[in-house]
Every structure is written in structure tokens, then in C-alpha cells.
Amino acid sequence: MAEYILETKDLGISFGGLKAAQDVNIRIKKNQIYGLIGPNGAGKTTIFNLLTGVYKPTAGTFYLDGEELKGLPQDKINHKGIARTFQNIRLFNNMTVVRNVMVGLHDRPEFHCSVLETLLRLPRYFKTERAMRERAKELLRIFDLEEDRNNLACNLPYGKQRKLEIARALATNPKLLLLDEPAAGMNPHETEDLVKTIQFIRDSFDMTILLIEHDMKFVAGLCDEITVLNFGTVLAEGDTKTALSDPAVIKAYIGG
């Protein structure tokens, strides 16, 4: 067991001459809720895309629980234990809620069932289908979505879609959960609810969470530590209160 769940070393990527991110060093301990903040275009989502394999880093590397994951394709990185949600919600819209979660369970070894077994409808097929459905329902129960399980994902209200996306990410059994602006577009009441949900996930799933957020109150109330990015570089890091009151951070946000 490594000291840090996630450790990036001088992680960076450049698109041609544009350095979207450089020399980013983030260290997240197990069970932390870690915030990644910064003004628009600071490179926050780029970091997420690097960590999930959407982009291949052009500099540096990163380790999940001591294992280097740089250069792996997205699905392999997910199997290793990094799951994410998206800034603009990406659900499987034409599938029912329960099947959305079941897709998340797809590659868990305990639900393995080969194509031949499913085509021939061997007993294993029925067993895994039933087990997956039960597991998916359990997850939906946690997020208060069980009633909606046979609705199409696209018919859910916004807040529930966010929750479903988190449930689907958790279904892949990650070690680290990346949330990209989970509170975007939520009213204060929903945001409060979300804080509780995230804390609950941390406690009951023994999860480590890295999140991007713009709502400072949300970040200050939830995150143990943060990293502030600006123009692709780290501006400040460490304890949430200290980092947020750093003059450089205030300058970057307010200007002047």
C-alpha cells in the first residue's frame, strides 16, 4: 500500500506550442476529499483527461496506489481503479437507469460471463445477469434512485442524472473517484444535498475523491486539501483554508 492513492509527478501536456498543463504535482492520501480549482481555462479538466487516459501526458507521469498508469488506454485505467463523471453529464440516455449502472458493473471480475455463454444461454448467464441486477439495485438504493430504475436515463431530472452518473462511476469499483464540477447547475439546496452525498460516499465506500468545482463555499466546506491551477501550472496547494487565502490565488480569481 503506497502512501498516496494518487501521485502525479511533473505531469504535463502540450498541444503543439500550447502548454495546457505543466509540472503538476498532486498527492492525494487515502480517504481524502481533494479539490482542484482554478479560473476558466486553467487546465482542470485537462488534468482529469490525463488521469483517465483521454490524453496521453507529454511530460511526467502519475501513479495510482503506487502503480504507474501513464500511457494506458481509458478502459484499462478504469479497470485499475480511476472512475470519473463529466462536466456535461454523459449518461447512456436511451437505456434504463438500472442498465446504466449495470454497464458500470460490466468488467467486474465477479460478473464475468463470456460471449459464448451468453449466446448459448448457459446457467452462468442467468446467474450473472441476476447478480448484476441485484448489485445495481443496491447501488441505486443508496442514491435514492431505486424507484426510477426502469425509467430512461434521459427522462430523469438534472439532479438525479448527476447522482446516476456518480452511481455508474462507483459501480466500476474504483479506488479514486474524479468528479468534474458535480455542483454545476444545482440550486443551494441540491448543493447541500450533494455535499452530504459526497461525504457519505467517502465514508461508506472508503473512497478517495478528487473534484473540480467553482463554488468556493462548496469547496471550502468539503475538501480536506486543494490544488489551485492557473494557466496550466500549480498556483498554490495544501490545506483548503490556507491555499484559498494565498494572495496569488486571490489575485488570480479577482484580478488586480
Binding site: Q74, F92, M95, R99, H106, D107, V115, M216
Partner: protein
């Protein structure tokens, strides 16, 4: 647990199965079908196999394939050739048919893999372009073969299989196709395929091996196009590559689209209807009137599409559709709130595949449109 039989999952097996049993019983008991009727039955079976297999790629995977007739062509030529080569040794009995079928399907599958590996890695319309090219290439390739190999422009002669019983095999093959395609769709693997259709980026992030599943669905589809091809070569005595052009691929695509993308039963109905329509029009309109055939065919298609989509006709459609009539017949109360877990639709149909979703490559760093709304100014 849920031991109740899900009728809606098996209705197509039951209907086609009963039809097969009844017709074969008549044929085997010495009843007489005239040759045009037999030919129509075979054609319908071929169309259903083609439409159901293409629906796997277009309706469930959400990729556009315009070369389905190309895979069929490969199956037809290879199957026909093997059958002709085996005829002296095995005669033209079921064994010959079976071996040709396996060879034709296997070669078509191989073509599917070879086309799929490069083409499926690309996003958007590239698969459509590549499959379109494939269909045309295959067509001209067989067109220009020598007399010793595939008989070139003259067309390959295949053994004269006893036509009286061929339709029974054809319908058994339809049932096998249905079983394979539906069992695939209604499993975790099918779920992965539909997830890719709905949101490829999310599917990747959820740990789905997108390339593997795209290739799997595409190859499965090509395999059954090959099966349909072999069937075609047995049904027609000669295989001419000109038949397998672009038009035929589009005709199969029309069956899938007309039946409702992502609906297997719809594909079956549309395939039957279109084949029937085409054949009847061809027999009714002869001589100078033959030019009207395409016109009428197009007109009927347009009317069906309007009927299916016109908002003004919605209430009419809801009241008088096949499902509602069936439910009324079986006195079955349809209450959406009472849908059991397993009965919930597998084949939820996106009426149109959202092309912009497929085409969008919005993982580019510029695309941070969500950020502007929230502002970082405070």
C-alpha cells in the same frame, strides 16, 4: 425470482417458428407450392436475415454500414463455389449445404474483421465510407474473375439444390439468426454495445473496451450477411455480382430504418413487407410499366415514413398500433408503472441516432463551454 415468461421477448420466435412448422408440414406432406411462392419465401427469409444482422450494427451499435450487400456477395460466391466443388463428392444434399454455409459465413466474418479493425477505430461517418467502398470493390472483384475461378461477368453457377425444401432450411436459419442476435443484445455484451451507441466517451470511461465490442458486433453482423449470401446462391442457381451493388445495401438499410432502428421485430416486419412489395410489383408491372416499379416503391416508402413520424397522426398511431391491438386481444392491461424489471424494454429505440453525439469530438481543450456559465469571477 422472476419466473414469469416474457412473451414480448419470444413473440418473434413463436410467430416465425409456427410459420415454419406449418409450411414445412404442408411441403413434407406432399402439398404443392408453386415455384414463385417458394422463391418468395426464400427471398423473405434472406431479407430477414440481412435486416436483423444489419440492425445489430445500425440500430444497436449506432454505426452506419453501407456495405452489407458486399459481405453477402462474399458469402454467396464462396458458398456457391464450395458447393459446386463439393457436388461431385457429396451431391447436393444437406451436408453440402451445411459445409458451404459454414465456409461462406466464415469468409464473410473474416472480411468483417479485416474491414472493421481499421475502420471502427475512426469516429463518425468513416465506417459508412469504408463499407461503401468495400461493397463496390467486392462487386467489381468478382465481376472480373476468370472463368476458372468465379466465372466473372457470366455469373457463378451453383448446384441445383432441391428447391422444394430449401425454404425450410432458410427459415431455420432465420430462427438461428434471431436467436444469436437477440441473445447477444439481451446480455451484458449487448448492453455494452448499446452503451457505446448512446455515449462512446462515457462508455470508455466506464471501462468498456470500445474497439472490441464494435468489432464483435460488426463481425457478427457480417457473418450473418454471409449466411444470407450462401442462402441466396442456393436459391438462385447463379450468382451475379452486379446484384450486390450499392442499391442492394441501401435496400437493406431501408428495411432497418423503416422498421425502427434498434427494433428487431420492426426489422423483420419491414424486411418481409419490402421484399413482398418488390416481388409483387415486379410481377404486376411488366413491359413498359416496369419503370413504374421504382417510382411506386419509393412512393410507398415515403408514405410509410410520413405515417410513422407525422405528429398529426400520433394519437391515431398510439390507439391503433400492433402492440395495442395485441394487448386488447389478450385483455392485457398496459400500465407503465407496473413494468417488471426484466420486462422493461431491451430494445428502447432512439428514433434517430443522434449524429452530432456520434460526430462530436468535444474532448478538445477548447471545449469548456460549461465553464463560461458558472463563472470564476466571484
Amino acid at each position: 425470482m422472476m419466473k414469469k415468461i416474457k412473451w414480448n421477448h419470444y413473440i418473434n420466435y413463436i410467430v416465425i417458428g409456427l410459420l415454419t412448422v406449418v409450411l414445412s408440414a404442408i411441403a413434407l406432406a406432399g402439398g404443392h407450392f408453386d415455384s414463385s411462392m417458394l422463391f418468395l419465401l426464400e427471398k423473405v427469409a434472406i431479407s430477414i436475415i440481412l435486416a436483423v444482422s444489419l440492425s445489430l450494427v445500425v440500430g444497436f451499435l449506432g454505426e452506419l454500414s453501407l456495405g452489407h450487400a458486399g459481405f453477402m456477395c462474399v458469402g454467396a460466391y464462396l458458398g456457391g463455389k464450395v458447393a459446386a466443388l463439393l457436388e461431385p463428392a457429396l451431391g447436393n444434399g444437406p451436408l453440402n449445404f451445411l459445409i458451404s454455409l459454414l465456409v461462406g459465413a466464415a469468409v464473410a466474418a473474416l472480411c468483417g474483421i479485416i474491414i472493421g479493425i481499421p475502420a471502427l477505430r475512426l469516429r463518425g461517418d468513416y465506417l459508412a465510407i469504408v463499407t461503401l467502398a468495400f461493397g463496390e470493390i467486392v462487386k467489381s472483384l468478382f465481376q472480373n474473375t476468370s472463368d476458372e475461378s468465379f466465372d466473372g461477368a457470366l455469373g457463378l453457377d451453383t448446384p441445383r439444390y432441391d428447391k422444394k425444401y430449401l425454404f425450410i432450411f432458410a427459415f431455420i436459419l432465420v430462427l438461428i439468426t434471431l436467436a444469436v442476435v437477440q441473445n447477444f443484445i439481451r446480455s451484458k455484451h449487448g448492453r455494452a454495445v448499446t452503451a457505446i451507441r448512446d455515449n462512446e466517451i462515457a462508455a470508455r470511461a466506464t471501462g468498456i473496451n470500445v474497439t472490441k465490442y464494435k468489432l464483435l458486433a460488426f463481425t457478427l453482423s457480417a457473418t450473418f450477411a454471409g449466411v444470407a449470401g450462401v442462402l441466396y446462391s442456393f436459391s438462385n442457381y447463379t450468382v451475379q455480382s452486379m446484384k450486390f451493388g450499392y442499391n442492394y445495401s441501401i435496400e437493406i438499410l431501408v428495411m432497418v430504418v423503416l422498421g425502427g432502428m434498434g427494433s428487431i421485430n420492426g426489422s423483420i416486419l419491414a424486411a418481409t413487407l419490402i421484399t413482398f412489395l418488390n416481388t409483387k410489383l415486379a410481377t404486376v408491372l411488366t413491359g413498359d410499366l416496369a419503370v413504374l416499379q421504382n417510382l411506386l416503391y419509393a412512393l410507398i416508402l415515403i408514405l410509410i415514413v410520413i405515417y410513422n413520424n407525422a405528429p398529426a397522426l400520433k394519437s391515431f398511431r398510439d390507439r391503433y398500433n400492433l402492440g395495442a391491438l395485441l394487448r386488447k386481444l389478450l385483455r392485457h392491461k398496459h400500465d407503465p408503472a407496473k413494468i417488471k424489471d426484466d420486462a422493461a424494454k431491451w430494445d428502447v429505440v432512439p428514433t434517430k441516432i443522434e449524429m452530432n453525439e456520434i460526430l462530436s469530438i468535444d474532448m478538445t481543450p477548447q471545449d469548456k463551454k460549461g465553464n463560461t456559465g458558472n463563472g470564476g469571477e466571484h
